[in-house]
């Protein structure tokens, strides 16, 4: 099933909209682009289960006074907390590894989709090309088919596209009251 009828935004140059491609004296990292996309998308609530590739992003989110940050014990729990946060008036994001997508299927379907509750999912896609850990391969392979089966649109940006793709995915979720996923594969974290 092909559900992505929203066209990905045209990738923009790092500084085409007046934003600097650097943060202080340091070049922007892949995590910075995601974070800026979350800010552009109005995210003010985040739940997370860690992944090694998300660690820099999680530190940024936790340090932001405008984002209420709740580390959770399991991704499905995070889906519930984010649903409550949306009902309470905030714009939630769930940050997790793709293994957690498998832990969340029932809640995504019978809570978020049933009630029309939007959620932006920022997903570290392990088991993608270059994966060295065999245990990550099965869910790595199943991630895109699971999202398709659930009818969840997804975007897989390169680092310089991440800011606009994340903001776009968030806007799509809020406008339609649906789920939206941004998949960040292993190359993404290498800056490729």
């Amino acid at each position: 099933m092909k559900v992505m009828d929203i066209k990905p935004p045209t990738p923009r140059q790092a500084d085409s909209d007046g934003h600097s491609a650097t943060f202080g004296q340091h070049p922007a990292s892949p995590s910075h682009w995601i974070f800026m996309g979350m800010k552009d998308g109005g995210i003010d609530f985040a739940a997370s289960v860690p992944c090694i590739n998300l660690q820099e992003l999680l530190t940024m989110v936790e340090a932001d006074p405008e984002i209420r940050f709740v580390p959770v014990t399991r991704e499905e729990e995070g889906v519930g907390i984010c649903a409550g946060a949306f009902l309470g008036g905030l714009r939630p994001a769930l940050l997790m590894q793709n293994s957690g997508l498998g832990n969340s299927i029932n809640a995504l379907a019978s809570l978020d989709q049933l009630y029309g509750l939007p959620l932006l999912m920022i997903i570290s896609h392990r088991g993608s090309s270059g994966e060295k850990i065999s245990g990550q391969i099965p869910m790595g392979r199943l991630t895109a088919p699971l999202l398709d089966a659930l009818g969840i649109p997804s975007w897989t940006p390169r680092p310089q596209q991440a800011r606009s793709f994340v903001a776009h995915a968030a806007a799509a979720a809020w406008e339609r009251g649906t789920l939206a996923a941004v998949l960040l594969d292993l190359d993404f974290w290498k800056g490729i």
Partner: protein, 176 residues
């Protein structure tokens, strides 16, 4: 009694899937009630996100089987729940909506001790109506021992979107 207190305290009320929601709808429906129709185990989590986002008084009516399905919630509540949050676990030692199969609380498992061990500072328990009445001003986790059994009540006639829209209409208009 919980519903009555929710009204008096102007509390939002998240209610667990199955007979608890059906019974609540039958005895005390109000727009501030969020009835769960799926996602078993997540009542406490939905209520927690709601309390954090809204700053409102929030009651959650949950069950022993559902809390056992999402035990990590007790640790998250311990670390993040605001003072307005109260998780009320109706412990009937059974999966009441599916034929009253026993849960582990029927034998060795003690949810009061588990909540304390998870780090929840305020953990209450009630076994009588009077104890329950006195406990509903608290925050944290409240474990209420109840008998198994369901009332003969119909399925809630509201659609999920109606439940959502009624509920969010009770909250200030979202910004942005």
């Amino acid at each position: 009694m919980v519903a009555g207190q929710a009204v008096r305290q102007k509390a939002l009320l998240v209610c667990n899937i199955g007979y608890p929601s059906r019974e609540l709808y039958a005895v005390y429906d109000r727009p501030e009630n969020f009835y769960m129709l799926g996602s078993m185990g997540l009542a406490s989590s939905i209520g927690l996100g709601l309390a954090l986002a809204s700053g409102r008084r929030v009651f959650v009516i949950d069950g022993d089987g559902s809390v056992l399905m999402n035990l990590g919630t007790l640790a998250t509540i311990a670390h993040h729940a605001p003072s307005g949050y109260l998780l009320i676990i109706l412990d009937n030692c059974s999966y009441g909506s599916t034929g009253c199969q026993l849960t582990c609380t029927a034998q060795k498992t003690d949810l009061v001790q588990m909540a304390r061990a998870a780090g929840v500072e305020e953990v209450g328990q009630a076994a009588t109506s009077e104890e329950l009445r006195r406990s509903l001003d608290r925050s944290g986790v409240l474990v209420v021992r109840v008998e198994p059994g369901n009332a003969e009540v119909p399925i809630i006639p509201l659609s999920p979107l109606q439940i959502r829209d009624r509920f969010t209409s009770c909250l200030p208009t979202r910004t942005g």
